[in-house]
């Protein structure tokens, strides 16, 4: 559906170019999400151009209509239209605060890394930790498992819920874990129980990270992996706390970028 632009509003664009997906959000006055788009094509592809085009079309906007554009994510430095880049951690903190209100801990599991953010009551980033240079505990880990198991990532959450057992999978290394999964399959083990074990493996790894910065409720999850209910459940159990998720969780980085763009606009107005 096409929405007419209202030029009494200040429009900003936030783009989040991740390793496996591109997201963009158009906001008005730094407060209202007017349009958004996501595509499963990340840095180094034309993904971001596709989603921005789609979001612009929905709003009948042109690039000249934006007061400011901020890019974030792994490919943030390659987006030439950006007035400014911000790290994805700052943007997820800002976007997470926008989506969830008073949130103190954000777990962001993305395509190739996982991060835990600690926020103060006003949503300001206080501390953070990123994963080691290792795919274990990231979306990439799930992708590898999806290929081995021939199960779509979209079905992982559902399979996890249906599992009768949870088979142990190593959280140390994606390559080792992959061979463990192949061994389990060779022994005829139940795929759903393997998936539940995979989720547990990621949860234990990310929970370790979270404990390094200290887990303060409310806890929320952002990033693409937050759509996987199995991971969310495993993390809730591992951290012994409820984890908030939202249909906008995957957009948190782009939302944060759009808000930063508005702040950038205001700063330059002075």
């Amino acid at each position: 559906m096409e929405t007419k632009k209202n030029m009494s509003k200040v429009y900003t664009l936030g783009v989040d170019i991740g390793s496996t997906s591109s997201k963009c959000v158009i906001m008005s006055d730094g407060k209202t999400i007017e349009s958004s788009a996501i595509i499963a094509k990340g840095a180094g592809t034309d993904g971001i151009d596709i989603v921005v085009k789609e979001a612009l079309k929905k709003m009948n906007l042109k690039f000249e209509d934006f007061a400011a554009i901020v890019s974030t994510g792994y490919g943030r430095n390659s987006y030439e239209r950006a007035d400014k880049t911000m790290s994805e951690l700052s943007c997820h903190a800002k976007g997470g605060h926008y989506i969830f209100g008073e949130i103190r801990t954000i777990i962001d599991i993305g395509g190739q890394d996982s991060k835990v953010l600690k926020l103060d009551a006003s949503g300001q980033l206080q501390n953070f930790v990123m994963n080691d240079k290792c795919a274990a505990g990231t979306g990439r880990f799930l992708e590898v498992m999806s290929n081995v198991l021939h199960v779509s990532l979209e079905d992982f959450g559902k399979y996890d819920e249906q599992a009768l057992d949870k088979l142990p999978i190593s959280s140390t290394c994606t390559v080792f874990a992959e061979s463990e999964v192949i061994s389990q399959l060779a022994q005829g083990k139940d795929v759903k129980s393997i998936i539940k074990g995979i989720h547990q493996s990621i949860a234990s790894r990310v929970a370790g990270q979270a404990k390094r910065v200290g887990v303060v409720p409310k806890v929320a999850m952002t990033g693409g992996v937050s759509r996987n209910a199995g991971i969310v459940r495993a993390l809730e159990k591992e951290l012994d706390t409820k984890i908030e998720v939202s249909s906008q969780s995957q957009l948190a980085g782009a939302i944060g970028a759009a808000i930063y763009a508005y702040e950038y606009y205001l700063k330059n107005q002075k």
Binding site: Y74, S87, E88, L89, S90, D113, L125, N127, F128, M130
Partner: protein, 373 residues
């Protein structure tokens, strides 16, 4: 910058450039591993010490001797030993201050020992008590004898004393440079700061002193420009990666102080002069060093030293550059992390190794840290 840049360029040399110069001058070169080796003895012998650590690149041949999960600083030293880069050396001196170095010495001795004399520098863990100093004195006399054999001439006490004084002078100048660099971050960028401090391990120390005196004098004459970026204290084993320093610069981070093994840990302690026994003075120096992760330190003074550096410089935070698989550093991290957090000092840990070609994760972490500060 116009009058500073030509002076800075005097420090912008590769080790290969310096080796060529030594060879042209007919100087023998002794390769020196980390940390705190008695380089003054090498200098007094008429040969020149060459720091072997801190290079970046692939590791392949060394993997025959070390597992993948091993300190890459040590792996790179062995790699360069095996691929012929160190064939220009007349001797290789290796200490045993961490487990990784112990194995490095053994592997160098086994692989290169027939061609290049190996000088083993044993050091007492109990370095502060008399028996520890006695032990180190005995070891250093053995080192001296080996150096005499390689150089073909006796090392006189007066020459060692002269070398101690020269090195002490350079250390005082390096401390002064660190303070001046903090006042002029617009000129002494992290990249230049690192180059100036780390080339000391390779350059003839007399030439280094001359150049650094000139640089410090030029900086003293320069007006201070208010710095609008962030002030950072660094800690870790080494922070000499060009890519890493570029990221500091991208994020407008000035290094106003450091607690880095390849930088200020090397010059924050002086060797006693005019003791009448310069070898014992060198042995005692090991016991005088405080707060170093690779030396036995039951009091763990590093944390207090870091806090003091932050307070002295008004730094916005500390960046801890963890050398991957460096056990002594990994043991220290939880201790100072906890205290710094309690003190309200912002701390960022980033992990690097000598094979890294992609610093994207470090870039994201440092950008976030800068935004957070």
């Amino acid at each position: 910058m116009s009058n500073i840049l030509p002076i800075l360029k005097k420090f912008d040399l590769t080790k290969a450039d310096i080796v060529k110069k030594y060879q042209k001058d007919g100087r023998k070169i002794i390769g020196c591993s980390p940390y705190h080796l008695p380089v003054e003895l090498v200098y007094a012998s008429g040969m020149r010490p060459m720091g072997l650590w801190g290079s970046y690149g692939e590791i392949s041949m060394a993997k025959e001797y070390f597992p993948a999960f091993y300190c890459s600083i040590v792996q790179r030293i062995l790699e360069l030993s095996l691929n012929g880069t160190f064939d220009c050396l007349s001797g290789i001196m290796v200490s045993i201050q961490c487990d990784s170095l112990k194995a490095l010495g053994q592997n160098i001795k086994r692989t290169l020992g027939k061609n290049i004399p190996y000088i083993h520098v044993a050091m007492a863990q109990h370095r502060k008590i008399d028996v520890g100093v006695d032990f180190n004195e005995v070891q250093y006399n053995k080192v001296k004898a080996q150096l005499e054999e390689i150089s073909g001439k006796k090392i006189k006490d007066e020459d060692i004393e002269k070398a101690i004084k020269l090195y002490n002078k350079s250390k005082i100048l390096m401390r002064e440079f660190v303070k001046l660099a903090a006042k002029h971050p617009e000129v002494i960028t992290p990249t230049w700061r690192s180059k100036v401090l780390t080339i000391a391990n390779a350059m003839d120390r007399a030439e280094y002193v001359e150049n650094l005196e000139e640089l410090n004098n030029a900086l003293k004459e320069k007006d201070e420009v208010p710095w609008k970026g962030l002030k950072i204290v660094t800690t870790g084993i080494l922070t000499n990666s060009y890519s890493l320093n570029q990221i500091f610069e991208e994020n407008k981070m000035a290094i106003v102080e450091d607690e880095v093994a390849q930088e200020s840990r090397q010059f924050r302690t002086l060797v006693e002069e005019n003791t009448g026994n310069p070898i014992r003075a060198l042995a005692k120096y090991l016991g005088d060093i405080e707060g170093d992760s690779i030396l036995f330190d039951p009091d763990k003074k590093r944390t207090d030293m870091l806090i003091e550096k932050v307070k002295e410089t008004g730094a916005d935070g500390i960046v801890y550059v963890q050398a991957k698989f460096c056990d002594p550093e990994e043991f220290d991290y939880p201790l100072f992390k906890k205290v710094l957090e309690n003190e309200g000092i912002k701390l960022l840990m980033i992990e690097t190794d000598q094979q890294m070609t992609n610093f994207e994760q470090a870039r994201t972490s440092l950008q976030t840290f800068a935004e957070m500060l």
